[in-house]
Symmetry: C7
């Protein structure tokens, strides 16, 4: 309840997260690193487009500027 919102991403490190992107796609993968711009490094990532088609990306650096929200798997 204290600290910055992005500090909370620390708890998600090494776990699976879902990133909703501005271009109407979403990417799922294991979060390995992030910075204050919310640039995110994922491993074992997949991308799903607006029509539901999925493609494997593997390691991926996602620019924070393209991210709407990030939701850790539960």
């Amino acid at each position: 309840m204290t600290g910055r919102p992005i500090d909370v991403l620390n708890e998600a490190k090494g776990k699976n997260v879902m990133l909703k992107l501005k271009n109407r796609t979403q990417i799922s993968g294991v979060i390995k690193a992030f910075d204050m711009h919310i640039n995110v490094w994922l491993e074992d990532a997949d991308v799903t487009d607006a029509e539901g088609n999925t493609a494997k990306l593997g390691n991926t650096l996602v620019r924070g500027d393209s991210i709407i929200y990030i939701s850790p798997a539960q």
Copy 2:
């Protein structure tokens, strides 16, 4: 009536808020943290799209750049 607008979000901490996003969706959840960029950490969040379909997100970090407005529940 004094202070910065985002300070007023402090009163909303731990309570339910609605975030209107630029991509024509809205997210509701319990606000746990925010920063000066209005990045917001929510717990127990749901997303509703422009057609009214709702999906459960759980914990979610929303980037301030994607937010139009935030309205605490009343």
Copy 3:
């Protein structure tokens, strides 16, 4: 005629204002606080969409980045 444009918002504090937003909606409410990014805190706010439908928001933090113009009630 002197000072910064946003200083003029000080005179509007506690009064009703209309905010025109980039997403083709407008929000009316009582302005309680604002900052240099023109983030605005409103009380007793209502939102009206491009088709003229109105919904009650209550307290609302509007991000300055989404605002086109602000017009105090006369």
Copy 4:
């Protein structure tokens, strides 16, 4: 021919100007103040939409980020 472009707006203070906005509308009014972000305070302003319909705004703060160009009346 010297100085910054926005300094030239000083000569327009108290006079009528036309602001062309990114949302395909334009606003006319008497310019009372502006800042380095080209945020502009107008008095006695009117807005005209892309179809030519005009509405009275009165006092209005226009965010510089929404302005394409400003043209003083001649």
Copy 5:
């Protein structure tokens, strides 16, 4: 070949230039001043829309953020 690109605009001062804008219009006029954000002050300006219709603007301050490119007359 040395110096910053915007320094080269100094040579265009007092001459006619064409500004291509993001809103699919272009503006021609005599460049009198500019700054590091490429905000530009023009005299005797005309605007031409995407359909080729031209209107007289006279003195005009164009925000750099709306400019795609600037081309001095030859």
Copy 6:
């Protein structure tokens, strides 16, 4: 697992990467340099548009602002 996300691009230097761009195209090439804005220099680059047509670009500087994500070949 430590460090900044963009540091991880160091491991990709000299290898093939795929850049997904905001204009619905993607570029593949050998990454030679990048900076903190995620501007990227590629050698032997190809661009593929949304319809799947490919064209050879050779050496290319891609502005970070246009990049959604970067995925090294595996």
Copy 7:
């Protein structure tokens, strides 16, 4: 392989480059100067629109914010 991506543009000075722009046009010309924002000064430039129509621009200052990528001629 060392240095910043934009330093690599130094090697292109005085040579022909192609700039892909966000407004679905591209500009070719001889690069004479650039800065850290990737604002670019071209000589003897031509613009080609999405339909393939070409027009002569001559000397042109292109704002970096409008550029997707730059590719030197080979």
